[in-house]
């Protein structure tokens, strides 16, 4: 039972991070390898706002979420906009470089020590007993709920929202979308903003649950296989992929070897790339030439 809860929590983490990869990829065909670092930056933003609004934890989180949205939009406006029309690989490498830059900047500003934003916000992270003898910490439960909420919101937004429909259109055929008067730059900026926002949410909740240091960026990278297994352009796929990857990881750690934790997602990734490179729910595309 505890195993099932562990899988659920890890899947929620991966799914919440993976939807950031999916959003940016679906709209602009760019793989954002700086997502882990952006997510870490979001968590550190919470640390910053936590000192400002230490009494109101909700205000602190809301402020950090707002800031991370702005960060995402700025990243697009000042960096990725210059890479539109370049080779896809150049854009991907730019995100890699951005990730390195962010990691250095974060250590420079907040030091490499482990931090605990939960203490600053005075949130007691108590364990909740579930029926069946399993336990789940408050923040983990919050994380699962947030993931469900974010996915519900995003799916509804893409299906019914005016801007959501525009986003789908831009992803399907940028040229036609632009011809119909859709402002592509605005759409891309929105996608980057939303992606950073969801990533930052994940980062904050993980930081509240288990503290915060530079290793968080690695969690971001480990969530990437979840996005790819499900199909890089499918939100539902990201959910399924997160469940598969998290399931494989928790079970293998439990029954085989704890050291495997670092590689399991990538093993799943290799298996998927061999069998079905475009993922479970992804559209089969003409893969891009270098």
């Amino acid at each position: 039972m505890q195993l099932a809860v562990n899988i659920l929590v890890l899947a929620a983490i991966y799914a919440l991070i993976a939807c950031g990869y999916v959003l940016v990829y679906r709209v602009s065909r760019v793989l954002n390898l700086a997502h882990g670092e952006l997510m870490m930056l979001g968590a550190y933003l919470l640390l910053m706002t936590a000192t400002q609004f230490s009494s109101h934890w909700l205000v602190a989180i809301a402020a950090a979420v707002g800031l991370s949205l702005i960060v995402g939009v700025l990243v697009y406006l000042f960096l990725m906009r210059k890479m539109t029309g370049e080779m896809v690989l150049a854009a991907v490498l730019t995100t890699v470089a951005l990730g390195i830059l962010l990691r250095g900047a974060v250590v420079f500003v907040w030091s490499a020590q482990q931090q605990y934003p939960a203490q600053r916000l005075e949130i007691a992270n108590f364990a909740i007993a579930l029926p069946g003898g399993a336990r789940i910490s408050l923040c983990a439960a919050l994380l699962v709920a947030t993931t469900a909420l974010v996915y519900g919101g995003l799916l509804a937004f893409l299906r019914f929202g005016r801007w959501g429909v525009r986003m789908r259109a831009a992803g399907q055929n940028p040229l036609l979308a632009a011809q119909r008067g859709i402002d592509l730059h605005a759409i891309y900026a929105l996608a980057w903003g939303l992606s950073t926002l969801t990533g930052a949410l994940a980062g904050m909740l993980i930081a509240l649950d288990s503290g915060l240091d530079q290793t968080m960026a690695i969690i971001g990278l480990k969530a990437f296989p979840a996005a790819l297994v499900g199909g890089l352009d499918s939100l539902v796929g990201a959910l399924a992929g997160a469940l598969i990857v998290a399931g494989a990881e928790v079970l293998l750690i439990h029954y085989v070897d704890p050291l495997l934790s670092e590689v399991v997602p990538f093993l799943v990734l290799i298996a998927m790339l061999i069998v079905r490179p475009w993922g479970l729910f992804g559209t089969r595309e003409e893969l891009d030439r270098v």
Partner: protein, 359 residues
């Protein structure tokens, strides 16, 4: 390597001239000057500078290997550090388990690299671009995991210490000796690359990079040549990793993080894609960059304040430089070099004549 015509309009008149690597007198003079600078260098430089030079030579071997694969054959790899780790661990394991001498471990490392090259290359038969990069990234983690598994299983969790290699009964320990060994290694790697690239294999790689479908239509075995590119590049990278292990006298997975892969990719981007000179320039730049940053920070007032965050500043500055090159100068250092060259060749004119322009 595509030869650019000299401004003088020098034309070759025989096959021997076609095969010559150094053909004009200015080139001979330039090479002689280069050797005159490089040969006495270890006898004049401080141990610190000598260590830097050795690091640059090591990085050049790795960068040349990656340049063959990415810059010429057009196959992206984010797993370069994994291959170097494989080479280093081959040395470490053979030394610890069998006390194997260097003339056995280096070929073994090359062999392991070649085998891994086949494995790394297999996805490239189906995947392209982004997906290929991701698959090599995953394989990198797999190789590093196997290395760390060996470390923990055998109780070397802090790393494997290996003795310096002995050649003809003499242990290579001094930086000066290493300088010449690494210099010869880097020079022969360069020679291998140059000769490969002007052979049929090199032309096949160029064709695959330009357009796979057309290459196939021209009768080039695309799958075989892709795998060959991976095999050659991987075995060179593994040898570089093995030399790195011997040079440091120490093998540990810590040294082969994802960041190292990114550094090598940065080398070929900063140097300039599709140029062997670029690989060497990029390797030099990326290797010396952190030391330059450190020197600059030292020179700034209030140096003590930054001392603790030197690592962070290095990291951030490296990311920033990589972004600047990607956005502002995609052709890299070689692009700048060529522009300067053209400027002086054409002076007092500003542009190349359009008629009779090569390419």
């Amino acid at each position: 390597m595509s030869r650019r015509p000299r401004a003088s309009g020098y034309f070759r008149t025989g096959y021997a001239q076609d095969l010559a690597l150094v053909e004009a007198r200015t080139e001979r003079v330039a090479l002689a000057v280069l050797l005159l600078v490089l040969l006495p260098f270890p006898f004049l430089a401080s141990p610190f500078l000598l260590d830097l030079a050795n690091q640059v030579l090591l990085a050049s071997i790795g960068a040349l290997a990656l340049m063959l694969l990415t810059g010429y054959a057009g196959q992206v790899s984010l797993g370069h550090a994994g291959l170097m780790a494989a080479g280093a661990f081959t040395v470490g394991i053979l030394f610890k388990e069998a006390q194997a001498p260097v003339w056995l471990t280096l070929p073994a490392a090359a062999l392991v690299g070649a085998l891994l090259g086949v494995i790394f290359g297999l996805p490239s038969l189906r995947l392209r671009g982004l997906y290929l990069a991701v698959s090599t990234l995953a394989l990198h983690f797999l190789v590093v995991y196997l290395g760390s598994e060996y470390e923990t299983r055998r109780g070397y969790s802090t790393g494997i210490v290996i003795d310096p290699p002995t050649i003809a009964g003499v242990a290579i320990t001094s930086g000066r000796a290493w300088y010449f060994i690494l210099g010869v290694a880097a020079a022969s790697t360069l020679l291998i690359c140059v000769n490969l690239l002007r052979s049929g294999t090199g032309r096949a790689w160029a064709a695959i990079r330009a357009n796979e479908t057309v290459a196939e239509a021209l009768g080039i075995g695309v799958a075989a040549h892709k795998l060959l590119a991976f095999v050659v590049s991987s075995s060179l990278a593994a040898v570089a990793g093995a030399l790195f292990a011997y040079y440091r006298g120490f093998v540990s997975v810590e040294a082969f993080s994802l960041f190292l892969s990114i550094q090598y990719v940065a080398m070929i981007i900063i140097g300039g894609m599709g140029s062997l000179l670029g690989a060497i320039l990029g390797a030099t730049f990326v290797t010396l960059f952190p030391y330059a940053i450190e020197a600059v920070l030292r020179a700034m007032p209030g140096a003590q304040r930054y001392a603790g965050s030197l690592f962070a500043v290095n990291y951030a500055a490296f990311g920033a430089v990589m972004i600047l090159f990607l956005v502002l100068e995609p052709l890299g250092l070689v692009g700048i070099w060529r522009r300067v060259q053209t400027y002086f060749l054409m002076w007092p004119f500003r542009h190349r004549p359009t008629a009779g322009r090569q390419r």
